[in-house]
């Protein structure tokens, strides 16, 4: 139940035990967005974490009901802005499923390439912000240096750096830029050299490891019952990679591993993301020289109309499973749209993880959950 709390509140129970309630956020550097946490403390130990949502709610699902099937895709870039491509991809897949459109092979390869570049860029930013939360400032600049190269590639091909709106029903909006392949290869060559620096600067640091190991342990049972997905669940050893188990586009023909760690603590979730970046590099390497010739967009009608019925598709974003559910009544706009965003389920486990830990560890736990608040509130 929601109740307003004072900025700082102390309460003493019948046995003389003193509890303190403090507010972290909605404007706080460690929450990376407008997340409001009401934390009940016993001394320095966390008794309860109560996330309050809604500070950036824009009613995107309702907005989509008044937009056509071509138009609504751009809104989803504003949800999980770090994996905007993959969100757009999920929506485009769902509309294509309804229209029964075959996407040309060239478009499929371009889409997967863009998805994996986005995944690297997203994990890059997470890594920098995560290390900064734990007090290391330099990694933030290293992460942004590599992310900038991906952003430049995106800018050249899609025309925007963050909210690309590149995926359209039936394919992609433009063909790839002539420089695309050369620049991606340059990036990969540079990146493989740089990724060892990350281990050197942060992963192998004993101080960093001590702050991560054994903190916020999530059991596989809890991960499943809370509906966690993505690196959060895979850090606990739960098989949940949509790309592997429910392959879409050309993922079934690609060679890559589902990254799993068994620890379930913050360090395991950290390692999953670090290894996932390397897997993404593997996928890009397989595809970058093998982009088939052909159309980049299937022919679709000027006004899209989905047949009456319900359509669902899911994709693996950088944070987990992103689902799009469209109910159509046969018109040009959806009757109802529901987005299953990974951030919401991953946030719900925060209270479970944080209980019993020290307040300083909350930053590490929240960092490894990789929360993007607009994705949670929508």
């Amino acid at each position: 139940m929601y109740h307003e709390t004072e900025i700082l509140e102390t309460r003493t129970d019948a046995e003389g035990h003193e509890w303190m309630t403090i507010n972290v956020g909605p404007q706080h550097p460690a929450t990376h967005g407008v997340l409001h946490l009401v934390i009940t403390l016993d001394g320095e130990t966390i008794v309860k974490v109560d996330p309050h949502l809604g500070y950036i709610h824009r009613s995107i699902e309702k907005m989509c009901e008044s937009l056509s099937y071509r138009q609504f895709i751009y809104v989803t870039s504003r949800m999980d802005y770090l994996s905007a491509h993959i969100n757009n991809h999920g929506c485009a897949l769902c509309v294509e499923k309804g229209l029964q459109v075959e996407v040309p092979p060239r478009a499929q390869v371009i889409r997967v390439l863009m998805d994996e570049l986005t995944r690297i860029a997203s994990h890059e930013l997470w890594w920098g912000a995560m290390a900064m939360d734990l007090g290391a400032f330099t990694p933030f600049f290293y992460a942004f240096r590599e992310r900038e190269m991906i952003n430049d590639i995106m800018e050249e091909t899609c025309g925007a750096r963050l909210t690309m709106n590149y995926m359209v029903p039936g394919g992609v909006m433009h063909d790839i830029h002539p420089n695309f392949q050369r620049r991606v290869k340059e990036f990969l060559k540079d990146y493989k050299r740089k990724i060892s620096e990350y281990d050197e600067v942060v992963t192998e640091n004993i101080i960093f490891q001590n702050r991560m190991k054994g903190i916020g342990i999530l059991s596989p049972e809890d991960a499943i019952s809370y509906g966690c997905s993505g690196p959060v669940a895979r850090g606990s050893g739960v098989h949940c990679d949509v790309r592997k188990h429910y392959p879409y586009e050309i993922y079934s023909s690609l060679q890559f591993d589902e990254v799993l760690e068994s620890g379930g603590d913050c360090f395991a979730r950290y390692l999953v993301r670090m290894r996932e970046m390397k897997e993404s590099v593997r996928i890009i390497e397989q595809l970058i020289d093998n982009i088939p010739e052909g159309d980049f967009q299937a022919k679709t009608k000027a006004v899209l109309k989905l047949p009456k019925g319900e359509f669902y598709s899911k994709v693996e974003t950088a944070r987990g499973e992103f689902g799009v559910y469209i109910v159509s009544d046969g018109g040009t706009t959806p009757y109802r749209i529901k987005f299953r965003s990974p951030g919401f389920s991953n946030l719900s486990v925060l209270d479970k993880l944080a209980r019993g830990n020290k307040i300083g560890d909350l930053v590490a736990i929240m960092g490894t959950l990789d929360l993007v608040i607009p994705d949670i509130d929508r």
Binding site: E155, G159, A160, N165
Partner: protein, 158 residues
């Protein structure tokens, strides 16, 4: 034993920290590997890719002619209502009524640069410009009229 472990932990922490600092020192001594753009100072040499979505513009040729027929496809394609076509009817030489634009009003403050209008335009009348410094003191200055005063439709564009 506790003391030895404590001291060993401190030693191992210091060694791993020094290893990380070595990387920092590497970049400290090689400033050329650091890519920093001196943004406001490099405005003149700043090259944005030709696909960059900055704002919608309507290109005119040297005779002050554009390619817009006033078909309103961009207005229909826009998700936020940033574009508004105000059209009029012109009498052609054969005496027929023909639709033409009076004004193409563009609300930059509503635009999200999604490129859907450019895709929808059948006669390539509008395109994205590479400008990005849009800040003004009053939001009414963001409402722009894309066709220049006195401009006409180009010959042969239907």
């Amino acid at each position: 034993m506790g003391v030895i472990r404590y001291l060993r932990d401190i030693w191992r922490g210091a060694v791993s920290l020094a290893r990380g600092m070595r990387r920092t020192l590497y970049y400290f001594l090689r400033p050329k590997e650091i890519i920093t753009q001196q943004y406001p100072d490099n405005r003149l040499t700043l090259n944005l890719p030709e696909r960059f979505k900055g704002e919608v513009v309507m290109p005119h040729n040297e005779n002050n002619e554009h390619r817009c027929t006033g078909c309103q496809a961009c207005e229909l394609a826009c998700p936020n209502g940033s574009l508004k076509v105000i059209y009029k009817y012109e009498i052609t030489a054969e005496g027929k009524k023909k639709k033409a634009i009076d004004k193409l009003v563009y609300h930059l403050e509503l635009c999200t640069m999604c490129n859907l209008c450019i895709e929808a335009c059948p006669s390539d009348a509008i395109k994205m410009a590479q400008t990005f410094e849009h800040s003004v003191f009053d939001r009414s200055q963001l409402i722009k009229i894309l066709n220049k005063p006195g401009s006409k439709i180009m010959e042969g564009v239907e």
